[in-house]
Symmetry: C2
Subunit: 372 residues, 2 copies
């Protein structure tokens, strides 16, 4: 396998290093904007070096972002190259174009590292589907948010101090919106649902609420009621109808999720016969992510492409009702659904997920979390 | 795929049911001592019905026990049939004969359900090995012990009441020795190490201590020091030397292991680049176990046999030193290593694992657990 590697940042460099000891694959070209030299590798800024090299059978995309990453991936598929990517934003955004194109061109495609970094999440979802129906999936898919929430809970930090620590450790970007507003988790949820159920979710119908507005007083109120907050994704399939959303959730302190430390991920699916299965590990980072990119390349050498076949767009229905903790606003609607008070927040009577997210969108300073 | 199914108990019947909706496999014969009728299936007590049917390509063994299970499995392999089994005792006991025979006869063999029931443990260990070195493995592999320990800890039950509950729920046998003395965990540890490192551990060098002697006063002492007890397996590889043992361990109450509820399993490996990865799920039960047997059959239809190649017997060295909680005996040696007291028990200074197990073997009423 001769590889054209797009990007030489955290993941790209890690992947390159992992290939060095292998005889079954070799990085032949690297697209990199910096001036670097790698023995026996053509370092270039020109994608055509890769597209026009007939020996390159596989393109590994580790640039991140939508453009030019998608343009390069598309060109690679059109040139008949197999593709491996760790880019969740790209896969989530272009799912509807990507899968049919892969099929039409008869190439192989894999993206295991796009969800859960080093965790065998998507590869395991593929495996489950060979034998049974996934009933439910989701969990802690963003290590940065977990790091912030865990630090606030265990060590009593404020949100801004916990965020600063996450930034100092390289877990969070200078602009942390993608993580703390739940966008990263949302991308991963979309891909997971699409793979689990062989569909393409209507993205505008999948709401996401993040942790940007959480305060130490919220954490204290949760602790007083034996709960810990985590940002989680939820996808459910019942009678052919899919429900999918991202929001903070208050777990009993003895639940596994409440005890996930630092920047780890814990992702769960429930199968019709195997029951609950959870996978825990490093959801990001150079070597864990590069490891799953490498696993995908090994799968390609065995002819194993992405299993999921997308049968088309499906509607999402989030009519299910949950009780929520809400703090940071008050109005007649919230009063009308208030059932209890926790510190400065209220606990609502059962409210539909879609209604709660619609209300939150109009109240940007609110912090909200579901109780189950 | 036409299947000869050996055994129609909990797992065998579950597997049969799961095959009914599939077009790629069909159970043709069932070996069963009871008088049952299954539409279109030859129910028999004669293994030769299966061995002599040229259409049977795969034998699924779900009888349990060593004999006649091993005799039947051996005969099936010798007759050129592929074999899938969920029988951990069989795989652990006959590993040295089984793998060479499979290789010699050119058949396919899988045993994913033998460790972790419905959890994708062995299949994932195989996957890791394609890309990197497993540094460490182990964890909670026996749901019965976890059920007992969790109930004693969360609900304040005595050992005998918790055991009775486990028996009433069908988790524990009338003679619970295989579970509570750590033998089941020991079998699973042996198989896991053998798969992870492509070797065959010298079984007599792998010690196991169980939970038979634990009392409510121990649980109370652990709680007072912020710990919870779990029975775990440990396998480590460092510089080509393997350490492997089964013993109770005291986890900080915020560790994942301390929060594994009821009869769930949590099994972990550490890879050289992917880091810690843990798998959580149902380690036993009809449908979870049958699910992984089915997964193995699907793998066989794709030509994927067991990846592990056994390179031969290896010695085990358990010279690593740990601190232990010990209660139930006293002598000059224990006095000489006592560093602290927890309730009626003592905490030792660092003692080698092999030394501690040797001492426990001479003190059958002792309860012992490591602190790390």
């Amino acid at each position: 396998m001769k590889i054209g590697l797009l990007g030489f940042g955290v993941v790209g460099r890690g992947f390159y290093e992992l290939t060095l000891s292998r005889s079954d694959m070799k990085v032949g070209h690297v697209i990199c904007l910096e001036d670097i030299t790698l023995p026996g590798v053509n370092v270039t800024r020109n994608i055509n070096d890769i597209l026009s090299d007939p020996e390159v059978d596989t393109v590994v995309e580790a640039m991140g972002g939508l453009h030019p990453a998608w343009d390069f991936v598309k060109a690679a598929i059109e040139a008949g190259k197999n593709v491996v990517t760790s880019n969740k934003a790209l896969v989530a955004a272009f799912y509807d174009e990507l899968l049919p194109l892969v099929q039409e061109k008869g190439v192989l495609f894999r993206c295991t590292a796009a969800v859960g970094g080093g965790i065998c999440w998507l590869s395991e979802l593929e495996r489950v589907r060979r034998c049974e129906t996934v009933v439910k999936l989701g969990g802690i898919m963003n290590g940065t948010c977990n790091y912030i929430l865990d630090n606030m809970t265990r060590n009593g930090l404020t949100y801004s101090d916990a965020l600063k620590q996450a930034q100092a450790l390289g877990y969070a970007e200078a602009n942390p919106s993608t993580d703390v507003d739940g966008i990263d988790t949302w991308n991963k949820l979309l891909i997971s649902c699409n793979v689990a159920w062989g569909v393409s979710l209507e993205q505008s119908q999948v709401p996401a609420a993040g942790i940007r507005n959480i305060k130490a007083i919220d954490i204290a109120a949760f602790a007083e009621h034996g709960r810990a907050c985590r940002l989680v994704s939820t996808g459910e399939m019942e009678n052919g109808v899919i429900s999918a959303y991202v929001q903070p959730k208050l777990f009993p302190v003895t639940d596994l999720e409440a005890n996930v430390p630092a920047n780890f991920n814990l992702i769960t699916f429930e199968g019709s016969s195997c029951g609950r299965m959870s996978l825990y590990g490093q959801g990001a980072g150079r070597y864990p992510t590069a490891y799953n990119v490498l696993q995908d390349c090994v799968d390609l050498t065995r002819g194993n492409g992405f299993y999921s076949i997308c049968t088309g767009k499906v509607n999402v229905c989030n009519d299910g009702k949950l009780c929520f903790y809400v703090r940071g606003a008050s109005d007649a609607w919230l009063d009308s659904v208030t059932a209890d008070h926790w510190g400065e927040g209220v606990i609502t009577s059962p409210v539909s997920v879609s209604e709660m997210h619609a209300w939150c969108a109009e109240h940007p300073d609110v912090f909200m979390a579901s109780l189950a």
